[in-house]
Amino acid sequence: MTASQTEHPATTRPPLWRDAVVVKWVAQVFTLVVVVGVLIFLVTQAKTSLNDNGIRTGFDFIKTNPGFQLAEGIDTSPATGGRALYVGMVNMFRITFVGIIFATMLGVLVGLGRLSGNWMVEKVSTVFVETIRNVPLLVQIIFYDAVITQLAPVEFGVGPISGWFMVTQKGVSMPRIFAADGFYQWAVVVLVGAVVARFVYRHEVDRRDETGQDTKPGFKAMGTIVAFGLLGLLIHPLFGFLGPIFGGIARVIGAIPPGAVQLALIALAATAVVIWIRRFWASFDGPSGRAKLTDDDWFRIVFAGIGGLLVAAVVVLWPGLSAWIVHSTHDFFRFLETKFEFGNWSRPLDGMRPGVIKPDRFTSFSPNGLTMSRAFAAVFLGVVLYTASFIAEIIRGGILAVPKGQLEAADAVGLTKGQKLRHIVLPQAFRVILPPMGNQYLNLAKNTTLAIAVGYSDLVQVGQTLYNQSGRTIEVMAIWMLFYLSVSLGLSSIVNFWNVRLKLVER
């Protein structure tokens, strides 16, 4: 080989089958053709197999009556297959959102616990993490389900809250908190208080920086909010004047023709896509010129364009959407109007207190109070504990990743413990924590599909029932793929957005 290279001068072109460029392109095109060929072959094969087995295809099942009921959801007897799938999606989001919130809270606590100087706390957190994350999630969900199923009814709560929490074979119930009369008006007063508190905080911080005294800005800001809260108990009926204003807004919105909203939405989608792509583009400009775009980036740009087009297409093809937007906004302001009416207020001390409805001592689902079905509780518990054990490790890793010198420097500058945490540790740890955290949220969203094992009506479970009834397997699977892909891409672009914002500007 080396001999042949020395014989030929470097300038002569090698023969065609030795030319690196040619060989590489031939290999690529050849692979592409083979892959596409195999895919086409498989699809035709699937078509013939389906025809041979007498299975019809098509998306008509979306519009016909599915002929089954769902165990739970916003609509337990859906009129069409599409509605059933929609209920499944809502159920999936329900568990995902609540799960993300609780898993984050628990995970952060456990992660901090593992770093605690307290031996007992550290050991308990470690045992939690090492136990939970090494047992498969599906096993956990099934186990929790089995435990709840075979449980004798249990009531929790002592003293005044005795009997507020109940676990029975049918599910878990807990008190529901609702807004009492005048609560909204009182909330506006508190909101004003929060704005004032912010000014107070700013002012006190400035004063501390000037004079060097400890002016306790946080303490005073909290005091302001509490003061406004107390004041609100007395003066909240005054804010009744907001009621007619909201009513006016509602009437104005109700008069907007849906066509205008449709146009506005399309314009909005187009502008958003253009702005996004330009921003994305600009984020690659550095001091040393434009950075090279990776395939991922191209993928995202193309996907943003497709996403915008899809949004526009949905708006055009589905005029009900803009009508729905108009309606719901109108209804929302109407709702506020009724809540803010002058007559809608309560005696001073009752105004702020949220009402609590105790669940019935139930044998069936109680209409009062909050209830979780058994399947929901099992999936929720499993998903939250499992994800929390991973989040705990991420939090711990992120905090340990802050260099020791940073903490020592903070001590040397004389920062307090809280300042050190707020200004030194958290901003640096957050940068390390965020990307894997986003991954965990994605995993959580995908893991909710395990709900099928305990019969919780999420999209996969509903889809399975649907294709068992109608035989439209491919179509249902296509819907699954589309849905989960969009959820994943949506969640990951949110995480990416924050990631880019928090990224260190590297030189």
Partner: protein, 603 residues
């Protein structure tokens, strides 16, 4: 970093830092510093102690409750392990287990992986185990007084031994012993106790308790004792031959890779070979490819082959693809494709006579193994006499089979995907990016459902695939996308200098990838890859949803439906969770040790 102050040279010639002396802290100071340093900490300690007490009591109440039916998993333990493997053939299962243990013992010795444990540490551990056992007796609700006394007395023995040892040993004692010996002693104690304690009577046949006697298949104490002896013997054999056998690690690695194939197709299935067909078809095809292909490769790997060699390799490739368009035995097509691959890469292995001989020898070995396995897979099993492809076992065996096959096949596919995604060729890059991102966006369960239902419809007439292989294919495609991302992380961590140096040396792209880039990238990716292997093991439980009889399915759906144990679901589930937990936890601990040994993350 600082210079090592007092290096110890071990027998292997490696330099180890002397273990720093642990400062001795009196218990009272330790309690003050770690539990009651501030008022807040004291409150936390009290709260968490109460929490631990309540949780432990609840847990023990669950385990020792009067209505617990632990005999459900105990009697059906064989169901959990192998589903309904026939009694008279059960020796095959034990052989499989023994094979794995022997390999494990040899590997422990070959990699010198046995960590050491200090005497003081050991004494402390013994004492804490004793305390834990005694606490079970004290804390557990619903237990008879004599039962409590038993636990306390049993716990008192190691507790007393540990405390006495701690008193005798110097506070700065640094002597230690092999942890492997300690583990073997503990396991030996448990297994040998089977000979005296009468719990061997829970033999596992159809829910009916059977006296522990008769064939090997029904008794566990004798086979388990043999297993214990096997792993001890293997460890010491490995330790003796390690200094004399340079290739030990490579050979063991090869056997580990082949084990799943050999154990499932040959041992557990026991194919009924038809000698006439074997002599007339299978052996001639294998011989032709081994010898003929070997000769071709010998010529192609010669330094003089040059252009002609490449053209010949290209012709073989075209012929191999053409073989799929004409009716032909599948094994011939597979062999031809392998030959084309080897011929294309033959230039990479060109060089000295020894290198060429090794290349051709490797080819012959590969052909023999592949043909043997394919033939064995396509031969009906004698164990059940079921048609081709139908599997004969379940439970933990199936879980392990799915996991190991998925890992073995996903690895090359994932590495290929990672290389494609980081390569400079745009079509490859876009294809693998699209594949990886799509797969990563969809949940595993939908992949399983797709492959369980749709794969039979996608295949051409006359080609069939059973449910388990179909699921494994889906799982391979799924895991390879995640694996590719892990390997890509490793590939990106390699500095430009390495590429430039390789190019400066005049290495071809294949040589650069195989010899420079990949070894370094894979070394960096070991921690995430082990994490993924653990995930693959855990998530194999999802096959439950498509109705495969894996460990979880048996624990959840089969045992609670056996006569005598109706509705006993939580007990087998606890046992299954423990098995999953033990597997994942030990794997993650082992990987942490390997990480420390390789010094990853310390630079």
């Amino acid at each position: 970093m600082t210079e090592p102050t007092s290096p110890n040279v071990t027998a292997g010639g490696r330099v180890q830092l002397a273990r720093p002396k642990e400062p001795y802290i009196p218990p009272r100071e330790w309690i003050r510093d770690n539990l009651f340093s501030t008022p807040f900490n004291s409150i936390l300690t009290v709260l968490f102690t109460a929490l631990v007490f309540v949780m432990t009591r609840g847990m023990l109440g669950f385990i020792f409750g009067h209505d617990r039916r632990w005999e459900a998993p105990a009697t059906n333990l064989r169901f959990l392990m192998t589903q309904a493997y026939p009694d008279e053939q059960y020796i095959r299962v034990w052989f499989t287990f023994g094979w794995i243990l022997a390999l494990a013992g040899l590997s422990l010795a070959a990699w010198n992986a046995a960590p050491r444990v200090g005497y003081r540490n050991l004494a402390r551990k013994a004492a804490s185990v004793g305390v834990a056992v005694a606490l079970i007796g004290l804390v557990a609700p619903a237990m008879s007084t004599s039962g409590r006394l038993q636990y306390v007395l049993i716990g008192a023995i190691p507790m007393a031994a540990g405390i006495i040892a701690l008193k005798i040993l110097d506070n700065h004692d640094t002597r230690d012993m092999s942890a492997f010996v300690v583990q073997v002693l503990v396991v030996a104690g448990i297994i040998l106790s089977l000979w005296t304690v009468p719990y061997g009577q829970h033999t596992f046949v159809d829910g009916a308790a059977r006296v522990d006697s008769g064939t090997v298949a029904q008794s566990t104490k004798l086979p388990l004792t043999i297993m214990l002896l096997v792993i001890i013997a293997a460890f010491y054999v490995g330790r003796t031959i390690r200094p004399h056998f340079k290739q030990l690690k490579a050979v063991l690695g090869g056997i580990w890779l082949l084990s799943p194939f050999i154990l499932t197709t040959l041992v557990l299935r026991d194919p009924a070979f038809d000698s006439g067909h074997l002599l007339s078809t299978d052996i001639p095809i294998g011989l032709a490819f081994a010898l003929g292909g070997g000769a071709i490769l010998w010529l192609l790997s010669s330094a003089k082959a040059g252009e002609t060699g490449r053209i010949a390799a290209a012709i073989i490739l075209v012929l191999a693809f053409a073989s799929f368009l004409t009716p032909m035995r599948m094994i011939v097509r597979i062999d031809a494709l392998m030959l084309a691959g080897a011929a294309l890469s033959s230039a990479t292995f060109a060089g000295s006579r020894e290198a060429r001989l090794r290349f051709v020898g490797g080819w012959m070995g590969a052909i023999v193994i592949v043909n043997w396995l394919v033939t064995a897979t396509n031969t009906p099993s004698t164990v059940f006499g079921l048609p081709t492809g139908t599997f004969y076992g379940g439970g933990l065996t199936l879980t392990l089979i799915i996991t190991s096959f998925t890992l073995i096949f996903a690895f090359p596919l994932g590495v290929t995907m990672a290389l494609a995604r980081t390569s400079k060729m745009p079509i490859f890059r876009v294809m693998s990016t699209a594949y990886i991102e799509t797969i990563r966006g969809i949940p595993l369960i939908t992949v399983f459902i797709f492959f369980a239902i749709m794969l039979p419809l996608l295949l051409p007439d006359g080609m069939e695939v059973a449910k388990i292989p179909a699921i494994v294919i889906g799982y391979v495609l799924f895991s390879s996308a995640y694996l590719a991302e892990n390997v890509r992380g490793g590939l990106q961590s390699i500095g430009r200098g390495q590429h430039e140096a390789a190019e400066a040396l005049g290495l071809t792209t294949a040589q650069k990838t195989l010899m420079i880039t990949l070894p370094q990238a894979l070394r960096v990716s070991i921690p995430p890859l082990v994490g993924q292997a653990i995930g693959t093991f855990k998530e194999s439980s999802l096959v439950l949803i498509v109705g495969l009889f894996d460990l979880l399915f048996i624990a959840r759906n089969v045992i609670p439906n056996t006569s005598g144990f109706l509705g006993a679901q939580r007990e087998p589930l606890m046992v299954a969770s423990f098995i999953y937990w033990a597997g994942s936890y030990s794997m993650s601990k082992a990987s942490q040790r390997v990480e420390r040994k390789l010094g990853l993350g310390e630079r």
